[in-house]
Every structure is written in C-alpha cells, then in structure tokens.
C-alpha cells in the first residue's frame, strides 16, 4: 500500500503540473495577424482619418498598450501595481540608447534613415524589443520578492520602484550629441549617458501607426488568449480569493509573477514607442502621476476587460483633446467625468466582461438577426 501511495505523490505532482508552453499559447499566428492588422491601420486608416486624427490614434494606441499591459496584472490578477510608468521609463531609455547611439555610430546622424522596415526602422524595432526585455528583467526583480507574499506588498514595492527609476533617470550623465563624441565612447560607457533631468533628447522619430498597432494587436491577442486559457482562469481565481486559488492547486506565485513580467515587457515597449514619438524622454514626465493615469484607464474601462481598457484608453485620450478649447477647465471636466463614471459604474465601463459578453450587445445581435429573418 505504501508503495502505491508513495508513487502517486510524485507521479501526480510531476504529470499534472500545468505546461507553460501550451498555456501561454506561444505560436506564430498572433504575430502574423497583428502584422496584417497593423498594415491596414497604417496604410488605410491613417490616410483616411487625416493628420490630426493620426496623431490622436498614435496616442490612443500607446495608451492601449500601457493600460492593456497593466490590465493583465491589475485586472486579471487583481494585484495593484503603481509603478507602471517606471517600466515605461526603463523601456524608453533602453530603446532610445540603442536607436540614438546606434544611429550616430552606424548612420552618422540621429535623424531617421531608410524606408519602411529599412535599416533605421529595424534598429528601432530592435530598440523596442530591448526596451521590453529590460523592463521584463526588472519585472522579475520587482515582482518575485513582492508577489511571493499574499497581500498588498506589490503596491508599495512598485510605488518605490517607480520613484527610484525616476530619480536614477534624473541623475544620469549628460548625453553626447555629436558624432565624434559618440564614436569615441563604447556602448557600455554610453549606458549611463541618458541626459539626466533634462531628459534624453533627439530620439529619432520612428514611431508611426504601423509600429504602435503592431504591438497593440500582439498584446490584445495574447491578452485575449490568456484570459480564456486555464492560466487566465487561474489569475482571475487569484484575484477573487487567493487562498481558495491555492487550495485548487494553482501555483499562485508563479501565476502572479508571470503576469507581472508580461505586463512589464509590454510597458517597456510602450515606453519605447512613447520615447520615439515625443523625441524627448524626461524622467519627470514618467513618474507617479503617469502610473496613476494608467491605473485610472484600467479602472474606468473595467478591471480585467480587454475591450473595456481599449474603450477607457480611447475615451481618456480623446476626451481631453475635445476639451482643448477650454484649456484651463479641461482637467476639471476630465476629473468630473472620472467621478461620474465611478458613481454610475463603480466596476468600470465594462466590469470584467468583454463587449460581446454584455447583455445589450447580445440583444443587439439578436435583434439584427431577427430583423434579417423578418425581412427575408
């Protein structure tokens, strides 16, 4: 009896451990789909809506990327992260370091070079990936110790992390701005030449609709697949009741840390896109206030809802644009809008549901179908 029972323990532990490869659904399909959709946005939607709305769509896309990534931690797993702007800042620095100094060293200018997916843009894509990876590494460093514990440690640790990132950014060394100075220094020497409090400037302006929406669609597809996978269910269970989740056999630490790292990765990419859009990366702009702005988008959209966060990002970026004429009152209008949403819908616009899961969407679809049938 002891023999049989003894085997069962190790066998079952080994055989039933969730397979991470299967669960994260790493396949090429999301990237191909995202590439195609991003091409459509860049070549069709952009020209269609004109220059002003293209600018707004860029901001909306970057906001979706940042809030959508935060949603994985804040929404799915219910862990409050207050340092998302810190990951953005790290990603922005890493990417700007690669593209600015890379451009100076390889192309002899900081201005964008090459056409669509030419050498300059490939360097920029490399910068985005580097930004994501650097942010993800710090995601492990910050997430692992704080997420091993139950409770609100993450909020406090990420708050500290965001502030440290900002302060360290402010005390980095001057940024050499001519080709000779850059050529003299090694990549390693340039690693802390990030412009200090004045910010890292002359970042080549590579961000365009294609790149923003490429990463937006990759994130949305991965977030969607995650939500309806068993790993996503595990995160929602952690959010609901961590002890019960543990009692179901969910490795809660692992679930939380992997969500946090994924979130940091996309925040890093968001920071890279932001830096190459604005052209200047100022640590003071990506402090606590920015982190709070991102939390607000998630809360307004609905914690855990992908379509909610897309809506929230769109609304919170576009609304202030519309109020631009009343410049001094617009922040008040913005604040009032937030209060109104929270009073009317404390769970956010969408709650944890997706657009197609809401009752009015279903009713609308049913009515459309009914109408068609009646007409035929």
């Amino acid at each position: 009896m002891s023999d049989r029972a003894g085997k069962t323990l190790s066998e079952r532990v080994g055989a039933l451990r969730p397979n991470p490869v299967v669960n994260t659904g790493l396949s090429l399909a999301p990237f191909v789909v995202a590439f195609a959709l991003a091409m459509v946005v860049d070549t069709v939607v952009g020209p269609l809506v004109g220059a002003t709305w293209t600018e707004i769509l860029l901001d909306v896309g970057i906001a979706i990327l940042l809030a959508g990534s935060l949603n994985v931690v804040n929404g799915y797993a219910g862990q409050f992260s207050l340092g998302h702007a810190g990951f953005m800042l790290l990603g922005g620095y890493a990417a700007a370091w690669l593209t600015f100094y890379g451009s100076m060293k390889f192309f002899g200018t900081w201005e964008p070079v090459g056409g669509f997916l030419g050498s300059g843009q490939l360097l920029f894509l490399g910068g985005c990936m580097l930004g994501g990876l650097v942010a993800a590494v710090f995601g492990v460093v910050v997430g692992l110790p704080s997420l091993r514990l139950r409770g609100d440690y993450l909020a406090i640790v990420t708050l500290g992390f965001g502030e440290i990132a900002r302060v360290l950014g402010q005390i980095t060394a001057r940024q050499p701005k001519n080709v000779e100075q850059v050529a003299e220094r090694s990549w390693w020497d340039l690693a802390d030449n990030l412009g200090g409090a004045e910010g890292f400037s002359q970042i080549p302006n590579y961000t365009r609709l294609f790149f923003v929406y490429l990463f937006v669609f990759i994130l949305l597809i991965l977030a969607y697949r995650l939500k309806y996978s068993s790993k996503g269910r595990a995160l929602l269970a952690v959010r609901e009741n961590e002890i019960a989740a543990e009692a179901m056999g969910i490795d809660t630490t692992r679930a939380k840390v992997s969500a946090f790292v994924m979130s940091a990765f996309f925040a890093g990419i968001g920071g890279a896109l932001y830096a190459h859009r604005v052209g200047v990366l100022k640590p003071t702009e990506l402090g606590f206030q920015k982190s709070i702005d991102l939390v607000i988008i998630v809360v307004i959209g609905g914690m855990g809802s992908i379509t909610g966060v897309v809506l929230g990002a769109a609304i919170l970026v576009i609304l202030p644009e519309l109020f631009r004429e009343f410049s001094e009152y617009r922040m008040i209008a913005y604040a009032l809008a937030l209060v109104a949403v929270m009073l009317l819908r404390p769970q956010g616009i969408m709650g944890v549901k997706e657009l197609w899961e809401t009752s009015w969407w279903r009713k609308g679809v049913a009515r459309l179908r009914g109408g068609k049938r009646g007409g035929a």
Partner: protein
C-alpha cells in the same frame, strides 16, 4: 502506516502561538473529526496540513511523505484537498466556473466530466444553478459548491472546515448526509467542526482541541458519552 500523520506540530502567527504540539492520525478510509470552540486552532490545523501555513515545529506526513516545505499547490496534486472555512468560493464566478477550477490540475477530460456529473448528482441544487454567480447562492448552496468543487480535485483525503457554519439545521443535516455518502464511496475525511453533535455522529474517531492543544481523543461514540464533552460541546447538563 497512517494516511495522514501530524507529529508535534506548532504554528505561530507572528507572536500568537496558535498550535502547540498537535499530533493526530487519520487512517485510510476513516472519517475523523477535530472538534473545538471558536479560536481553538481547528482552521490553523487544516492550514498546516494543506501547506497554507508553515509549522514552526513538528512534522506533517501524508502517505508517509514529509509535507514540510511542499507548496500548497503541489500538496493538492498529491490528493490532499482542503475545502476552506467560510466556503472560500469564487463569488464573482459562476457555479460552473467554480467547478472547473476544482479540476484545475486535471487534464483527463472524460474522468473530470464523470466526476462533475457525480458531484452534481450528489448536489442536484447546484445543477439548476450552473450559470448563476456563486456569490448569489444561499449559504447552504455555497457550502455545497465548496464541497463539490473539492471533489473535482479528486481527493483521497478531504479536509472539511466547518461545513455546518451558519446554516439552518435541516441544511446541516443534508450536508452531513452527503458527507457520509462521500465517505462511504471511499474518500478519507478529516472534518473540523464546532457542531460536535453532528460531527461525532458521522466520525469514527475524534480529537478535541482546546487553545491550540489536543486535550482528548478517542472513538467518537465514546467521546459523545464523555461528561466533559457533553457539558462543553454538546450543551448537555447532567
């Protein structure tokens, strides 16, 4: 060898010394109850077994294997399942989603479907409410869901924490009847209760916990006759 064995277990919560040298045994196929007043340390004992708190001293052995330091999610995989106190259900998820999470570690779809069917036969009220949010269930139904969900984790040893808590007497009776059925089907059960009367009725052996220490143990029928137990836990005088 006993299926479950606690050997001199101590648990501290910060400065609070919640368990002192708790030793107990559960043999395969038994129903054993651990009774005690509020705050005696019953929940803490179950948490120490299922890995939700770490003993500061002593050993917990399941199938003869030391569980000290094994994370809770791996303990579940080995067939030791804890239905937490206060139901511990996922109240913003549907009954169905709760049941699915019970089978989180299992990939044998047909066996899961069979167990799910069986659980719903035991608790027909849950079948009618599969699409309902678990938070909107009555207290009794939530307790039924907690047990049904635990069954989907395929326990060999089921830890039940106060299934009668806050429930009306006839619902308690229903739930205890089902606990008996589950035991008869071969699941070993460690039942924690304040309701000593019901607990001593289903269990074959019992332990009495007072302020973190086991003060009495023996066959349930014998403890039910014990004067001290009758006075302290059954509310019977003379």
């Amino acid at each position: 060898m006993a299926m479950l064995e606690l050997d001199g277990v101590d648990v501290h919560y910060g400065g609070i010394h919640a368990l002192r040298g708790v030793s107990l045994k559960v043999e395969a196929g038994e129903v054993v109850t651990l009774i005690g007043a509020n705050g005696a340390g019953k929940t803490t004992t179950l948490r120490a077994i299922s890995g939700l708190v770490r003993p500061t001293k002593g050993k917990v052995r399941f199938d003869g294997k030391d569980l000290t330091g094994v994370p809770a999610h791996q303990i579940v995989a080995s067939g030791l399942v804890h239905a937490p106190e206060g139901r511990g259900i996922f109240s913003n998820m549907t009954v169905e989603e709760n049941l699915d999470l019970g089978a989180f570690l299992r990939h044998d779809k047909t066996a899961v479907a069979k167990d799910r069917e069986h659980a719903l036969t035991l608790f027909p009220r849950l079948r009618e409410r599969l699409a309902q949010n678990a938070g909107t269930l009555s207290g009794g139904e939530q307790q039924m869901l907690a047990i049904a969900r635990a069954l989907l984790s395929r326990p060999r040893l089921l830890l039940l924490d106060e299934p009668s808590l806050g429930l009306a007497p006839q619902i308690v009776a229903t739930i205890f009847k089902i606990v008996r059925t589950i035991a008869a089907e071969g699941t070993t059960i460690l039942l924690v209760e304040q309701n000593a009367h019901m607990a001593l009725g289903v269990a074959s052996r019992a332990y009495v916990l007072e302020v973190g220490e086991i003060v009495l143990q023996g066959p349930a029928a014998q403890l039910a006759k014990d004067d001290k137990i009758r006075k302290a836990y059954l509310g019977i005088h003379d």
